[in-house]
């Protein structure tokens, strides 16, 4: 670490190199920290998390009870022990709350004045954060599994919605219209994702084992379908030709630069694709246990080298190296299945939510400062701010 600092100082190294090395070191040391907690509001499992991109301060969560909560992640108290408080909730008592489970929530990509949530009650609601009332509501014919707004779009405000219907619907927030439909899939759409690189490229994953890449400006069908065998028709059985997975495809995630796309399927495999050509890079991650009947929300780190993929696997979060495919570690801490995870790029923290109604914050281990004079800093003096009151030793006697 000191050599990196010195190299940056003397100009031998690019400034980015120190930042990347330190980010990678921090991500590798992620663990549960007893100083960091997230308020427990949900009474039922947590299906989705989203951290806003502007400040990285506010986090949205949607639960199986239809409740939506907004948390403040920033630690403004002077103490290291901090619970991320829930600032406001759309609870069961609200008139506009979703009737059934909220599947996806997403902040409006350009500011925190608005967020969009979609749920199994066949609606998608656009909420005003100030008043917590929906400004717009879109009704659909079937359960809404997922929706996504493009993070880089300036010219359009389309929300792609994946429902039980094989047609992907694009809803326009500016005009409220939903006439744009993408046809091509033959099964329910479990996951949709816009590319973070181009505002017109959309990827959709469906129960028919196919992943399609669309250019929304074109009137005709999809650009291409991802093929796990890269066109080698001899490898697959005849039904499995041109499929991305040998089962339902339920997770999609673009890497931060938008050059690669990750997909997970119920065949217990995760695949990495070149998003421009649709070629399977054939990185072998091994068995990535996936039993989810709905979409799986996983995430990729940002700013590290090599990048890491955080995938919920049962009751743990598995961390894989993106291009090497090796399993780095399993983050264990949840009591039940993990459904979603979200990476905070500025602090290299991971937030994961699951069926046990907890949101866990995985924080990089800090190098502890050396405390030299233990006798003079008495505990009663209160200077030992590092100790969480729950862990303070209040029972042992000094007389022994």
């Amino acid at each position: 670490m000191l050599s990196f600092l010195y190299a940056r100082q003397s100009g031998v190294d690019d400034p980015v190199r120190l930042r990347r090395a330190e980010s990678t070191r921090r991500v590798l040391s992620l663990e549960l920290n007893h100083n960091r907690d997230v308020d427990r509001i949900h009474g039922n499992g947590i299906n989705t998390l989203d951290i806003e991109v502007i400040d990285g301060r506010y986090m949205l969560s949607g639960g199986s009870d239809g409740v939506i909560v907004i948390y403040d992640l920033e630690n403004n108290s002077k103490k290291p022990q901090y619970t991320c408080k829930a600032i406001c909730t759309v609870g069961r008592s609200s008139r506009h709350v979703h009737k059934f489970s909220v599947e996806t929530v997403q902040w409006y990509p350009h500011d925190t004045g608005m967020f969009v949530s979609s749920s199994f009650d066949k609606t998608m609601k656009v909420w005003d954060t100030e008043t917590l009332k929906p400004a717009e509501e879109f009704q659909f014919d079937g359960n809404v599994y997922c929706h996504h707004m493009s993070p880089v779009a300036r010219k359009h405000s389309l929300v792609a919605v994946g429902t039980k219907d094989p047609k992907v619907q694009l809803c326009d927030l500016k005009s409220g219209s939903r006439i744009h439909i993408l046809q091509g899939h033959r099964g329910e759409i479990l996951s949709v994702r816009w590319s973070p690189r181009y505002d017109h490229i959309l990827a959709t994953a469906s129960t028919d084992s196919r992943v399609r890449i669309w250019d929304v400006r074109r009137a005709s069908g999809s650009l291409f379908t991802l093929d796990q065998h890269n066109g080698d028709k001899s490898k697959a059985s005849s039904e499995a030709v041109n499929t991305a997975h040998n089962g339902r495809v339920n997770g999609l995630c673009f890497t931060a630069d938008g050059l690669h796309l990750l997909t997970t399927g119920t065949d217990d495999r995760m695949r990495l694709w070149n998003s421009a050509t649709g070629e399977n890079t054939l990185v072998n991650y091994g068995k990535v246990v996936n039993e989810s009947r709905k979409g799986l929300k996983f995430t990729v780190s940002r700013g590290c080298s090599p990048e890491f993929v955080f995938v919920p696997c049962g009751s743990a979060v598995a961390v894989y190296g993106l291009h090497s495919g090796e399993l780095i570690t399993m983050l264990r801490g949840h009591y039940n299945n993990v459904d979603c995870c979200e990476f905070h790029p500025d602090y290299q923290e991971l937030y994961s939510g699951g069926k046990d109604c907890n949101i866990l914050a995985w924080v990089p281990v800090l190098r502890q400062p050396d405390i030299e004079d233990d006798e003079t800093n008495s505990k009663r003096g209160g200077t030992q701010a590092a100790i969480n009151p729950a862990f303070e030793d209040a029972w042992s006697s000094d007389e022994d």
């Binding site: 990678t24 028709k233 001899s234 697959a236 054939l282």
Partner: protein
């Protein structure tokens, strides 16, 4: 101070890596071939009266090497060179069998000796072994590229080199491999049952390899252990007494 050993990124281990870099480079390249040869020795030839070439499954290699992507890459290189043949076995879409090309050729011709299909099979093998690395063949390819007639294709199916996949397409297969697949599936189920029935559903690998094989298990225990480890049907945990295999539901 955290007492746990922390994961360290590659960039922070520069000095140590420079010293061991020399050894690890050369090991990677030739290793897959030597692992294949080792696994082939575990295959029980006598069981099939020497009519089958030694067969290894691709995922058995994953139990010997850490980096699966590298193993896949090297296997594909060997296939491109024409040294290795890969077959789709049929009971699992992810299970691929690997056979050295030379072994395959000798055994198939040995099995065909004296039959009328010998000529066609020889012609096909001559086309297949240096050039083609496909797993299945369809009618246009056979008729146009390889210039085989319909009757010759029927002879290939009769000899066991082709198995029907679909109307007008065939899988490449190993003749007389039906018995192999049967014993393999039975043995795999039996070994997994042994792991499951152990106390707490886990057993040390060395202990499992020393167990007596029941009548269900016809292959060597080591062969099956490599199979279940590589296919991730059991969880492999490193302990101070060796590798522990834990049953996964």
């Amino acid at each position: 101070m955290s007492r746990k050993r922390a994961l360290i990124a590659d960039t922070f281990c520069l000095t140590k890596r420079r010293r061991c870099a020399a050894d690890s480079e050369t090991d990677g390249a030739a290793d897959v071939r030597s692992s294949l040869q080792y696994l082939m020795t575990l295959f029980s030839r006598k069981l099939f009266n020497d009519s089958l070439p030694p067969v290894v499954l691709k995922h058995q290699l994953y139990s010997l090497h850490n980096d699966k992507t590298l193993v896949d890459k090297q296997v594909n290189e060997l296939r491109e060179n024409g040294e290795l043949l890969m077959f789709q076995l049929g009971f699992d879409s992810e299970a691929f069998a690997l056979v050295f090309a030379e072994d395959y050729r000798t055994k198939v011709l040995q099995g065909e000796a004296g039959r009328e299909t010998l000529g066609t099979v020889e012609k096909f093998l001559a086309k297949l072994i240096p050039g083609c690395s496909d797993l299945s063949f369809n009618k246009e390819k056979m008729l146009n590229e390889f210039l085989f007639t319909d009757r010759e294709i029927t002879q290939l199916v009769k000899s066991g080199v082709f198995t029907v996949r679909d109307a007008g397409s065939w899988w490449l297969s190993i003749p007389n491999s039906g018995k192999f697949i049967k014993y393999f599936i039975k043995g795999r189920k039996a070994v997994l049952g042994m792991v499951k029935k152990s106390r707490y559903g886990e057993i040390l690998r060395t202990e499992l390899e020393e167990r007596r094989t029941t009548s269900q298990v016809q292959f060597q225990m080591k062969y099956h252990v490599h199979d279940i480890m590589g296919a991730e049907l059991v969880e492999c945990i490193k302990t101070t007494s060796g590798t522990l295999l834990r049953y996964v539901d």
